[in-house]
Amino acid sequence: MFERFARSARVAVMLAQEEARELCDRETGSQHLLLGVLQAAGGELSAVLTGYGLTADTVRARLAESATGDKSFDEDADALSTIGIDLRAVRDSVARTFGADAFDRAFAHSGRRRRPRGRISFSHGAKKALELALREALAHKDNEIRCEHLVLGIVRGGDKAAIGLITEHVYIAQLRAAIVKLLDKAA
């Protein structure tokens, strides 16, 4: 499937998988694809994305936050309270013995292995975004899929994992229009 991908788009997909692995996620999702594109995009596309505040650093920070953030802790605390376990008390007790961040940093500190290396499969949302990127390339009569098409694919796919990250910075319609303009200009 990747033979129609331009070099930068291939790099974006590879980086997406790398990011998923780094974040210890089970699948490569549309959010990781976005992260890959933000790093692989060059020139004008990069300028457009950065102009909206969409950079790899901000998006990665956001993802890392939601992975280990208070939300999952609070959800787990609620769930455990239903079986009589006070997660906050457990965390406090760990903090007293092993230090303030010992609970949150348990996995980083323990030397526990990360997921095995190798390809992480694409989520449904990511697959859809890739398919739609191909369609965007065809629709614009481009003979290869570039990062611009990947962004359009991600946006059109509508997978909430990526859309949420984008709309923190820019309206979807606005981003789409800016990229279509880039493509039209290049054509």
Partner: protein, 78 residues
């Protein structure tokens, strides 16, 4: 000071009541959260044991698993 009646209130509060919840969503979510807590506590205590000089074999014995299992899970080369 905590009285005996207060203690029993704690153990038989809403928590204990929900432990037998018939709603699968509630029960399964609790199980999943418990798994996550278990993984986390295991990581903390394995790291602590290693820092205190415990062998992989000793840790494995304490956890009731094979030495290989512990070693494979935690011995990341850094």
């Amino acid at each position: 000071m905590t009285s005996v009646s207060e203690l029993s209130d704690l153990s038989l509060g809403p928590a204990a009541e929900a432990a037998g919840s018939a709603d699968p969503a509630v029960g399964l979510r609790a199980v999943r959260a418990l798994q996550r807590l278990q993984e986390r506590l295991e990581a903390i205590h394995v790291a602590n044991a290693r820092e205190q000089g415990w062998s992989w074999q000793a840790i494995a014995n304490a956890l009731g698993v094979s030495r290989q299992a512990v070693h494979q899970k935690y011995n990341r080369r850094r």
